[in-house]
């Protein structure tokens, strides 16, 4: 029995070590901005951490990545005619079955984008941790779809022009958005299937901020500036909405002094098996 056991273990160890081998590669790619006046960015990534931020001045984009060449093939391509940058794991390899936990833990993609030109950003993220620092970028449109992820968006400074659409859809995980008001989104939609949503509605915005919030099996925290009024028009299914101090008219919850407030937040959407908390911030 002993030789049999040894043979089994040696085969298992050999196969295991071969499968677990990793071959790390780094990629750095950048392009001068030249006369390009807008950029569309499409990112498909599900193997590690991803960050998005501003690139240094003369560059249109600056991609830096670290990936396991044994399991993934990360590539980028730029189409000058449509001014579109594609970055990500090749679709043939983009399967969770191929990415080991090591690749996920140590893979990384850092994307720098040009400042001063309108950006249309489309992120499709898998099981990643995403840190998106959008301050000083001109984001014209932004779509973020994620699977099991932890996503942080920060609008550190005022968007030069109003953003046409902001759409964030998280499957399982957490979404944190800081200074959402700086995005100046004409329409913002935030969805979470399972997990938590933390929305800081601060920033140097004025007028009305329309927001669609859909949260299920989790919690949503809205951090509202003290000088803003908020109206909640949420369809609730087994949900608890923190509405202390709110007045109800026609099924809509209005914060105290809503009419007198200089700026208004109108929240539509739904909460299912979830809690929605309002926190007032100075």
């Amino acid at each position: 029995m002993k030789p049999l056991l040894l043979a089994l273990l040696s085969l298992f160890a050999m196969a295991g070590s071969a499968d677990g081998a990793q071959s790390w590669r780094t990629l750095a790619a950048s392009r001068p901005r030249g006369s390009v006046d807008s950029l569309r960015v499409i990112v498909r990534y599900d193997a590690g951490r991803v960050s998005v931020g501003p690139a240094s001045a003369p560059l249109l984009y600056d991609v830096r990545a670290r990936f396991d060449a044994n399991e993934q093939r990360l590539s980028r391509s730029y189409d000058a005619s449509t001014r579109t940058l594609h970055v990500g794991i090749d679709s043939a390899m983009r399967s969770s079955a191929h990415a080991s936990s090591g690749s996920r833990a140590h893979g990384r993609l850092d994307l720098g984008l040009a400042t001063g030109i309108p950006l249309d950003i489309d992120l499709d993220l898998g099981a990643t941790r995403a840190v998106l620092d959008l301050g000083s970028l001109w984001v014209d449109e932004m779509h973020v779809s994620s699977g099991a992820t932890e996503t942080e968006l920060t609008f550190g400074s005022l968007n030069p022009q109003p953003m046409r659409d902001l759409f964030v859809d998280a499957g399982v995980g957490s979404i944190t958005i800081r200074q959402l008001g700086n995005a100046r989104a004409e329409h913002a939609s935030i969805s979470s299937t399972v997990g938590s949503v933390d929305l800081d509605l601060g920033g140097a915005w004025a007028g009305e901020m329309p927001l669609t919030l859909r949260v299920a099996l989790g919690s949503a925290t809205l951090r509202v500036p003290r000088d803003a009024g908020i109206a909640l028009r949420l369809s609730r299914r087994l949900a608890n909405v923190d509405s202390d101090g709110f007045t109800v008219r026609d099924g809509v919850y209005y914060s105290t002094g809503y009419e007198q407030a200089k700026r208004h937040i109108v929240v539509d959407g739904s909460a299912t098996l979830a809690t929605v908390d309002i926190i007032w911030k100075e």
């Binding site: 298992f12 196969a15 071969a18 990629l27 950048s30 060449a69 399991e71 093939r73 191929h98």
Partner: protein, 373 residues
Amino acid sequence: MRASDSVRRLRRLTIGLLLGALTTQGARAQSAPQSPSSDAVAASLDSLRSDANGMTLDRAEVQSGARTVQASEHLSGDVASYHGALQISGTVDGNAAAIGGDVVLLPGGHVRGDALSVGGQVKLAGGTVDGEMRSISGFSVGPLAGARLTPAQATRRSLSLAVACYLILVAMALAVSFFARGHLETIGSTIRTDFSRAFLFGLLGEIAIVPLFLLSVVALAITIVGILLIPFAAVAFALGVMGALALGFLAMSLLAGDAIMRGNTAAGDERPVVSHLITGLSLFLVLWLLSSASAYTGLVGSVLRLLAVLSTWIAATVGLGALIITRGGTRTAASVPRVPPPPAEEYAWQTPTPVSGVAAARRPTPAPRPSQQ
């Protein structure tokens, strides 16, 4: 043939297969296809062409060692260096690449296309690049860069999977033989006495798995607390099904082990369940190892795979059926009546066999009617 001989043969076969697989892997690794060309530069250019972040270069444009494009030079095509830096002071209309070195754009240097460095960096030292500046630490294409596994890798993965399953089942077999030996024996004896019925019940059980799961989900969804319990219930259901299949499979393996080790245990001795179980499991392992090792041998491989799948499925199905019949090994098959026994009273008057010497009984006669009296 004695049982100990057959066990020895089984062990020898298993070890032989494993060693054969190891040797085959080594041989395959050593005989891996060489670069399409013996020319290292050409091989690198092939890799560069195949790399998602690479580019296509002509062999004639590549110079071994360092290369400098002088300020007075104006190249209309591409320029590349191999294992040396590429310094550019002039103008290049195409791409500039350095394989195993840096691309350095000196003052006045101008590349209208892309600048690429493999294993180095693209450095702007006063020059400009109109296209993309790109550096990669190495070629991304390699032995595993494609999505498809090579036959050697697929074989190795199949072998390791078979061994991993075997080791898990051996661990389960040890646990079951220590903690639920009675249940296992009951299931095993049910398989032995009523194989076809166990198979039928197992088949019905497998068919009923999905409807049962859906029914339980629907039942849970009726209440709020139940909705929250659905994920846990799904996991518990999956674990239960897998556990039942594994226990049934172990019972079937025990029977297989009994068959192989028949005569190896002295009469009156309690049979060693653990070694019988492991022997039975090893039989299935041999089948799967043969199937994995011959996966790329055409018809033989297909037949062996079919044999392995069928035998494993039948074993698991029969085991599951016996587990259902015996309610998880808690009841013997004999205690579950199949058909109602014939009424004894009607024929109780019949004469029993004379072997035992019991006196003949008289058929009961009805009492005479009043009119007959």
